[in-house]
């Protein structure tokens, strides 16, 4: 992969504030990106048969550990990568949204398999047509189920994306609080 600009679908609009970033903070951002992309703590949200393929890719033969994404966390609060592995139906959508909301920033989402990406062939009364209808997705991995090589490629794409994001040592942006009614 030569350049990363084709990964970010949203074109970067350079504001004066961003132009005023000093070389030091750019270096910090690069360093933080490097650190973050090689220590992806994932929360596998496994709902369907893609889970078997996830186990295959996490186990010794394909070994996600080589990419620094080996440790599945058992709480979304400790994770920064949400892997949605399998079909999400309408009944489960609020649960997935809640899991996503309880993850701490910075966080990324991978739609693992065609059901999580678009609903797959389940175009029926019960199935959500892709998890991007409720949460933002960073990388889509197609396949039913995807080959482990596809998953590794997806992880590498995500690492590239993380590296190219802007990271701050201290993020002073206040999190958006839900409006109280």
């Amino acid at each position: 992969m030569s350049s990363s600009s084709d990964l970010d679908l949203v074109p970067a609009i350079a504001t004066r504030r961003e132009e005023a970033l000093t070389g030091l903070s750019k270096m910090v951002s690069k360093g933080l990106g490097w650190a973050r992309k090689y220590s992806l703590f994932q929360y596998p949200f496994v709902t369907a048969c893609c889970g078997m393929e996830f186990m295959a890719v996490a186990a010794a033969r394909y070994d996600l550990d080589r990419f620094g994404a080996a440790l599945p966390r058992f709480s979304p609060r400790q994770a920064d990568l949400l892997m949605v592995v399998g079909t999400i139906n309408v009944k489960q959508a609020p649960i997935l949204k809640r899991v996503y909301d309880s993850m701490a920033d910075p966080k990324w989402v991978v739609a693992f398999g065609v059901c999580a990406s678009s609903g797959g062939f389940y175009d029926n009364y019960a199935t959500m047509q892709g998890i991007d209808r409720i949460i933002p997705v960073d990388v889509y991995i197609p396949g039913c189920p995807p080959r482990p090589e596809q998953v590794l490629d997806g992880i590498m794409l995500l690492q590239q994306k993380i590296q190219d994001q802007q990271h701050k040592l201290i993020d002073r942006e206040r999190p958006a609080l839900p409006a109280k009614g």
Partner: protein, 173 residues
């Protein structure tokens, strides 16, 4: 497998068992009137020669357009005598209420909840008459033939996705 059971049923309930036949694969089937299903089932379970102590499957078929519209199918099995029987009960759409057999077989509980969830057959005397699969907010019964194929009823607001290949949105038909 159990011609004797069919014969006993017919002798015992001449008015309730309207027809018996041997289905495909040698399964013995009895058509039972809706009002008598609980008595017939109790007889099948408690008769010492039949002893159908297990109801391995209860499901429903929607024959949309014909009358009666629904067909409840009870599969019975006797673990003692090793024989089976199948009961079919016609249920009209206007009066889709059937006596529950959960008091006889505890295993019928979730099957009857399934039939209520997917087909809208109400079971009188059921201890826990909730839906089985769908959520309580769901309106309608999705396996009925006249339920829209993509009648999704989202539980939460969905982001707009501008994607021509995924078909219509959440509640499209």
């Amino acid at each position: 497998m159990s011609k004797a059971a069919l014969q006993r049923l017919q002798e015992r309930f001449p008015g309730a068992v309207t027809q018996v036949y041997e289905g495909r694969g040698g399964d013995d089937v009895a058509l039972v009137r809706k009002e008598a299903i609980l008595e017939v089932c109790r007889f099948l379970k408690e008769d010492p020669e039949l002893r159908f102590d297990m109801a391995p499957y209860i499901t429903c078929v929607d024959y949309h357009g014909s009358e009666p519209r629904f067909d409840l199918v009870y599969q019975m099995y006797s673990t003692v005598k090793n024989h089976r029987i199948r009961l079919r009960v016609g249920v009209p759409e206007g009066d889709a209420v059937v006596a529950s057999v959960t008091p006889l077989w505890k295993g019928a509980n979730w099957y009857e909840r399934y039939c209520w969830d997917m087909y809208g057959i109400r079971f009188e005397g059921h201890p826990d008459p909730r839906r089985l699969y769908m959520y309580e907010e769901f309106v309608g019964h999705p396996l009925r033939k006249d339920y829209s194929l993509r009648g999704r009823q989202p539980l939460m607001p969905e982001r707009h996705v501008d994607e021509p290949f995924r078909g219509p949105g959440p509640s499209g038909n």
